[in-house]
Subunit: 249 residues, 2 copies
């Protein structure tokens, strides 16, 4: 039997509001489209609905930009209140040039605008990344388990990357699966193992899910079905490169 | 009906040698495992078997390293003959530090060792990337079509990336599908389109395929089935970021 898996978009979740029970919304929407969740499924959940359910929303009218934010916003040609929110969400500015602000979030992710996003939220509001996406993933997994299904969870966002055009969906929160997969290295004729190859499995699954996840929140969740993955409780942190090993800080 | 697709690994292709007919090997192996190729499938093909079929192999004993390669190899702690091959395959060194050589290939891809790889080849040989992976993809697509099936082709390799741990499989050659997908931007209440989001679809499909593609060449091909993708004849080049727009050169 060849190895195979399926990726299924979950429709009908609708607009998510602060306090909503995402587990219920996802389990019911999957059942309603005749693809009920199964043990062993991995749910890839778009960050935006997690942030909305957790109330990680800021109204720009409530934000008073600092002088630094006003100055940076002028250089970038951006709204100073938005830049203020981004500065609060980041621990380091990685690049600020040509209207683009690449920042390292408090979690350690490096992405545009520290993940602060104006799309798919009400006008004059912005959505922040979840405060602790691994905790969000863990809680969602537990809430889905209480509904009788054992799943892995990946919370995903679309990030740009150097050198290559186009965003890809990547994991920012993980629960229940190991985010990296290591292939044993080859052995040379003397039987020595040469080198292990480590793949970013959770990022590859997040990307696979994006293919069926429409933008504009129409399909904010996808089910990855049919893989037997190594369990893991280390969350998403193994995906963060150690700064000491990063040649592109 | 929810959007869904399947990823199926193709087993039994076996060791590939220069001159082998990859289309025949893939079509026959897919049929032999009772998953014959269908019109509309996208084949994700590992770069290594394409390079082998095209004879893109170099024996290190036949390589005379230049003085520059000898000097760089000493700094890197690498084989000078290997460094010589890497230098021949690249048009720019991006980083050279801590034993790692990140280079821009003649195609424009930025990756470790300009894609030159010692794994899964005979001892003292190295494999180069295909000379023109888009041409390789186009020819493979034509050869599969001659066997009666209309497919898209992605030739993929596993590359590292800044900031995030783990390699991901990405597209280096494409034929028959558009490698980028653009979502229309939102409209604000006045009906103005705000911003388009561009996703690197071919990279996300390459990554999805990797999940079933074992290392060590056991499963060098995967079939992505069930998507209706936009056709495209522009190859992989839209995935290359314009240097003028890249903040991380």
């Amino acid at each position: 039997m060849p190895p195979r898996f399926e990726v299924i978009g979950v429709q009908g979740i609708g607009e998510v509001h602060p306090g909503d029970d995402l587990a219920r919304l996802i389990v019911e929407a999957a059942a309603a489209q005749a693809t009920p969740l199964l043990d062993g499924d991995v749910l890839v959940v778009g960050q935006k609905i997690v942030s909305k359910a957790e109330g990680r929303l800021v109204r720009l009218d409530d934000v008073t930009p600092s002088p630094a934010a006003v100055s940076m916003a002028a250089q970038l040609g951006r709204d100073a209140r938005l830049v203020e929110v981004i500065l609060r969400e980041c621990r380091r500015i990685v690049r600020m040039d040509r209207g683009v602000l690449i920042a390292e979030t408090h979690h350690g992710w490096i992405c545009a605008n520290a993940g602060v996003d104006q799309s798919n939220v009400e006008r004059d509001w912005v959505a922040l990344l979840p405060e602790d996406p691994d905790r969000s993933a863990r809680r969602l997994r537990e809430a889905v388990r209480e509904r009788g299904v054992e799943t892995g969870i990946i919370i995903a966002d679309t990030f740009g990357r150097p050198w290559r055009e186009g965003l890809t969906n990547v994991a920012i929160g993980v629960s229940g699966i190991a985010p990296l997969r290591s292939y044993l290295g080859e052995r040379d004729p003397a039987g020595r193992e040469l080198q292990a190859t480590i793949l970013a499995l959770a990022d590859e699954l997040a990307g696979a899910a994006e293919v069926v996840m429409g933008k504009l929140d129409r399909i904010p969740v996808a089910v990855v079905r049919g893989l037997r993955l190594a369990p893991g409780e280390e969350g998403s942190k193994p995906l963060l490169r150690d700064p000491a090993r990063d040649l592109f800080r």
